[in-house]
Amino acid sequence: MSGTELTLTPEVVEAPLSTAPPTWVARFDGWTERLGEYLNPILVKECRQALKSRQFVLTFALVLVCGWLWSIVGIAWLGPGVYYRFDGPEMFYGYYIILAFPLIVVVPYSAFRSLAQEREDRTFELVSITTLRPRQVIAGKLASAIVQMLVYLSAISPCLTFTYMLRGIDVMTIVFVLLYLTAGSIGLSIVALFGAAVSRERYWQMLSSLGLALGLFFLFTGSCGLAFQVLRMQAIQVDDPDFWMANAAGLTAYLSYGALLYLAAAAQLTFPTDNRSTPLRVCMLVQQLLAIGWMGFGVWYAEMDGRSVPLAMPVINLVIASTVHWYVMGTFLTGESPQLSRRVMRQLPRSFLGRAFLTWFNPGPGTGYVFAVANLCGVVLLSYSVLALVSTDAMMPPFFGVTWEDLARFGIITVGYAAFYLGLGKLLFQAMRRTSPVTMAGALLVQALLLLAGAGIPLVVQWMSDYQDTVYSAAHITNPIWTIRLAVGPMGGGALVDWPIVWGVAGGGLAVFCLNLPSVIQELRNVRVAQPARVAAEEAEERARISPTVVVPRNPWDEGGETR
């Protein structure tokens, strides 16, 4: 850095020193100012902007006015019955609608516009060349959305307290409905930020803006319906252990997908030569492990509770969900560029263990392909192991119609299809890259078309020969949806897919996997490159400044420690 000295202006140097003891207001002010130093700069800027914006002032005023009007109209409508009837839920529902609109529609849409407009106005470029990291940018935008939510919540909270006094609604119902609403709003804001990060071109921004607005409005009406049902059926049962189980499981899914979207949004803003893939892969793996954990816990819990539940069904559902999950994730992973930047190559694992286990987290379509297929394979094996471990002999034989053989067929087919379609897509991307770059949207489109062709072409051929005959046959082996559905049988009623088809799918998957092996091996040959001398010199300077003697290993997989 250059050494231009920053000079103190006389005003700063000669600030008058007060002799009077500071008041508690001044102390509080100083404390908040010190706290503000550690806040995300984007949050500070967005709050300054948003709280002065016309949109916020208008929405806030509308929330207040609507809340006030509903209080008057509602009480007038309820009449004298308000003194002896249980009218809390009705009044609460009105306030819920008033609050849900800004939280479900306005706040997420503002979050989207906030990032999209920065890109349109090119102010984002100026932010991107500061030392702020992309994750800080997304976190700042999200935090700003949360602040807005809190302001709206605080505006309507006296009204919500008032509904409790009208009887008919308990505190926990109010708390949980508000928690769901706030969590939903935060989740939608993350989705909106992801949408803004993904859509770089103006036409994509317009399309996603329109889609988001319609989607949010649809969700708003849906949430109003859901809230009505919750209030009517008094679904918040805090005494029921299943309620907490369902909430904990839902929270896990919410947090893990929220983290994935957050990381994906940040990855979209990350410099092209940076490693965008590894954090996402780690998140996907953790998400998968959590799902298996919850499945195992659910099966164990049901058995401990002595409930008669079809134990195979959670496993089948988990494998189906995982297949969809890894197919979508695998599409993005196989769409990555095979060229590793020098920056990424500086961070490649060096040790044997590191190269064996961590290589699959490196960016690249080959490692991504193996990562997705191996994870799906792992899900099948782990979930079957959990099932075998926790199920007792008494419950073992039928699994409500599903046998171990059916499960084996099902497992082989799901992994086989994933290996086949993802591998075929990867080979196609490889060929396409010779003429033009492949974008993530392009990869998604190609995979969707492949799946559509695999499922649709045999059906069309069959309908052309005999449109009335829609019976499954070996010709539909390329149709993963139909084949997987039949592999577990209707509602677990036994498999309807023969072993030759199973082996056909497995063979196809294996063949495509083998065809992809050369490019995978090529990616595995990437080795760590040395840091440039200039970077090494600066890091040595920084280390020497911090501590000249302490030796700290950088990670458990690395061969040597570093002097810090």
């Binding site: 850095m1 920053l6 800027k45 060349i129 500061t130 930047s341």
Partner: protein, 317 residues
Amino acid sequence: MVASHPMIELRHLHRYFGRTRAVNDITFTVRRGQVFGYIGPNGAGKTTSMRILATLDTPTSGDALVDGFSVVDDPDRVRRRLGFMPDYFGVDPNVNVREYLDFFARAYGMRGSERKRALSYVMDFTQLEGLATKPIQGLSKGMKQRLCLGRTMIHDPGVLILDEPAAGLDPRARIQLREMIRRLASDGKTILISSHILTELAEMCDLVGIIEQGRMLAVGTVHEIQHGHSGKQRQSWVRVRVLGGGQALANWASERGDVQEILVDGENVSFAHTGDVESEADLLRGMVQANFRVASFASQTKSLEEVFMQVTEGLVQ
């Protein structure tokens, strides 16, 4: 410690957009404390190469280094050392001047008194103290440019990339901005500046590069560019006023090998002279020794505009 490496270095930089070669094999270096003027018509590739240096774009091939760090491999280290002033001013709504600068100071990781000092220094430097609470949408073009320069230097970077900073400014604002850039240069900042106003660049820059259609046509000091961009000897236009009539001087001068294109207008004689400053001095001494009553002797070399037009002749569309 003075770094041995250049502060800015472009190594065979290429940037293609489809078939368009926006930047085509550009190589040059700028050392610490130098001001490099980037000259070229619209669409020549100046902004593209500046954006690559500012880590807003990546090259198709080649590399660019700032203080020895690659913009491709170490953009985060480059960003700490570099301030970029683009040719546009993104307006953040509902933000005043102080809040705008405060945000960027925070974004560069400055806290507490460090941030306050930086804000105070920058607002003083750019003469924006009186406008601290003014919304930035309401600023004039000149004020915006000063604010933009303030943002660029808020984290005290060693390298400044200024893309058309004087574009659209009135003469007063332009002079103010030029003074600020001069002060920055005298503080030891390395500056890469592009401008269409070549006379200003000639006054400010230690080095000048002429770029056209993505290619660097000439690089060197202003003096080198003006006098020897294509390997020719220095040529200047000399005007002499001789009391008693100029024809005799014209006859005398025509016998010299370093004088061409002689024009006579009464007492005034003009001609092209090939040679350095020493040679010019010898020419004047020769006139005096030959008893010509020289009332005035003025020598003028080609302006940067003329050199630019000559270098880019046939390329500029």
